[in-house]
């Protein structure tokens, strides 16, 4: 596992030496800050128009869950930009040949790559949740839904990174990798919208496959194993596919 840290170290360095990281960071913080402001202003306006509104709903919690939902959507757009180069760029620069002829196991390489993408996206998440911290400072939101939503977003981002890693290993072209990752995740996303409310039959299956459905459950503050298992299997599945894809690359190239 020591080698995974070597890879993580190098990947994060690479991220912060490339303009993409700074563009993503700036864009993400700008938009999420702006949205937080809007959600907050909207809530305050409603509150002043309707004084009976604040009972029995916890307004800060409402703000946090709206904001969390939005951050999830934003990840959908920015996640592919973070993962697109992971393998595609190595293949294009032929540096994969260095990695695969070095004394490092494929598994260590894949985990190293995976966690560096995850760490980067977690940095984004933590930075945007500074807004939420302020709310905790000035008011008393419900803790459980906030934590649930935060956990949900972490798992959601982790799934996105795992899918993105797999897609990136399939091509030498970063743009293609980004677009395919986005489309695949969007399709999974839509599964939930099309199969809303039904939990049986093929609609139920498709609905279960959608990360959005499980994210929403967690964001309501309902933390059950069912959703966590879903995310963990999603992540493992695509990490396994990445492993296979890198292996097959050796046979093909």
């Amino acid at each position: 596992m020591k080698k995974s840290f070597v890879i993580i170290n190098k990947e994060l360095k690479s991220y912060f030496l490339s303009p993409i990281a700074y563009l993503v960071l700036t864009f993400f913080l700008l938009i999420s800050g702006f949205v937080f402001y809007i959600v907050l202003a909207e809530a305050v306006k409603n509150l002043t128009l309707n004084p009976y509104f604040n009972e029995p709903i916890n307004v800060p919690s409402l703000i946090i869950s709206t904001f969390g939902g939005f951050v999830g959507t934003l990840f959908l757009f920015l996640g592919p930009l973070i993962t697109m180069g992971v393998y595609a760029d190595e293949r294009k620069k032929k540096t994969l040949e260095l990695l695969l002829t070095s004394p490092i196991r494929d598994g260590e390489l894949i985990l190293g790559k995976y966690f560096s993408g995850l760490i980067f996206i977690l940095i984004l998440l933590l930075a945007s949740y500074l807004n939420v911290l302020i709310l905790f400072y000035v008011s008393k939101p419900d803790l459980l839904p906030t934590l649930g939503a935060f956990l949900g977003l972490i798992l959601f981002a982790a799934s996105l990174v795992s899918l993105g890693n797999f897609v990136s290993s399939l091509t030498e072209n970063q743009i293609v990798a980004a677009i395919i990752t986005f489309i695949l995740f969007l399709i999974l996303w839509f599964f939930d919208i099309f199969t809303r409310e039904s939990t049986t039959g093929w609609r139920g299956v498709l609905g279960y496959l959608s990360p959005l459905k499980h994210l929403q459950t967690l964001q309501r503050g309902v933390i059950n194993l069912y959703d966590i298992v879903y995310f963990l299997s999603f992540i493992s599945f695509f990490l396994f596919l990445t492993y296979r894809s890198i292996e097959s690359l050796k046979w093909r190239s």
């Binding site: 490339s18 620069k93 002829t101 004394p103 196991r105």
Partner: protein, 312 residues
């Protein structure tokens, strides 16, 4: 040190390597020679464990690359056809990463970087971004990367490509200096380069080994072969009669002034004998008698084209 056992590799229906076997002894420098697409890179990729062979096995120090990949890989330094460089890093950052990847300890890394950058002539550019370097420097960083962890086995795929003549000589000397301590395989399609550096040459074409010997022996093999050009006037029939005694592949052109091209296959120098005989036969005026020695280049072409004709 390196043993390649009956290795084959096919890409779909295309057979890139067809039962290649050879050995390289410790401290030896082996030159891998062949036209583009002959299977040099494929062989090297199999030895370094980048790709598995379809058939056969490859042993480094008695250990199979397929069974002990990480252990064997740590003994190999490899410069692929395209130097694998992270262009957003500086040379120092890049070499540090490679050092860690290859299990060098923290204190060793600094020492090795200093030592190797001196040896490869990249000391001045250590703090420059790799993307800003010229092709020659990039190639040398690639070589430095392969030698950084002081591997037992060094495999260099076209190490002098993209370098200018002065740099080529430097790299050549560098490689020569590796022999003895390191076992080296280097590939090239440029003959003089290989013949000057290597202890042994292996010529490969269309996935098969067509010749394997020291540069001297390879040259010696065709040393008896000398191509002669003769320009004379006189009785063509008589001349032909005399020359057939010495050569079997004579070509005569021209009508009045005869131009004859033939080869001599003998350790003994037959030229004075032939000239004397021609003159004594009478009625023949010799205008020119010249010879061209076959070089390693010709041997190479000879082997490679012969093989091609045999296949088609």
């Amino acid at each position: 040190m390196i043993e390649v056992r009956n290795v084959s590799k096919s890409y779909g229906n295309f057979l890139a390597l067809d039962g290649v076997s050879f050995k390289v002894n410790k401290g030896e420098i082996l030159g891998f020679l062949g036209p583009n697409g002959a299977g040099k890179t494929t062989t090297m990729r199999i030895i370094t464990g980048y790709m598995p062979p379809t058939n056969g096995d490859c042993l480094i120090d008695g250990k199979s690359i397929l069974e002990f990949p990480t252990e064997v890989k740590s003994k190999i330094g490899y410069l692929p056809e395209n130097p694998p460089l992270y262009t957003e890093f500086t040379v120092r950052e890049y070499l540090k990463f490679v050092g860690k990847l290859k299990d060098l300890g923290k204190s060793d890394i600094e020492d090795r970087i200093n030592y190797i950058s001196e040896k490869c002539g990249i000391k001045d550019v250590l703090n420059k971004l790799i993307s800003k370097l010229s092709k020659g420097y990039k190639q040398r960083v690639g070589i430095a990367q392969a030698l950084l962890h002081d591997p037992d086995v060094v495999i260099l795929d076209e190490p002098t490509i993209g370098l200018d003549p002065v740099q080529i000589r430097e790299v050549r000397d560098l490689i020569k200096g590796l022999g003895g301590d390191h076992t080296v395989i280097l590939s090239s399609h440029i003959l003089p380069e290989v013949s000057q550096v290597c202890d042994r040459i292996l010529i490969i074409n269309k996935g098969k080994i067509v010749a394997e010997d020291t540069p001297e022996n390879l040259t010696k093999k065709l040393k008896g072969q000398t191509r002669c050009n003769l320009i004379l006037k006189g009785d063509g029939e008589k001349v032909r009669e005399i020359l057939t005694k010495y050569s079997d592949d004579m070509e005569i052109s021209g009508s009045e002034e005869l131009k004859i091209n033939f080869s001599l296959k003998s350790e003994e120098d037959l030229r004075p004998k032939i000239i004397r005989e021609l003159v004594e036969a009478g009625g023949v005026d010799i205008y020119e008698f010249s010879t061209e020695r076959l070089t390693l280049e010709d041997i190479f072409l000879h082997l490679v084209t012969e093989e091609n004709e045999g296949r088609e």
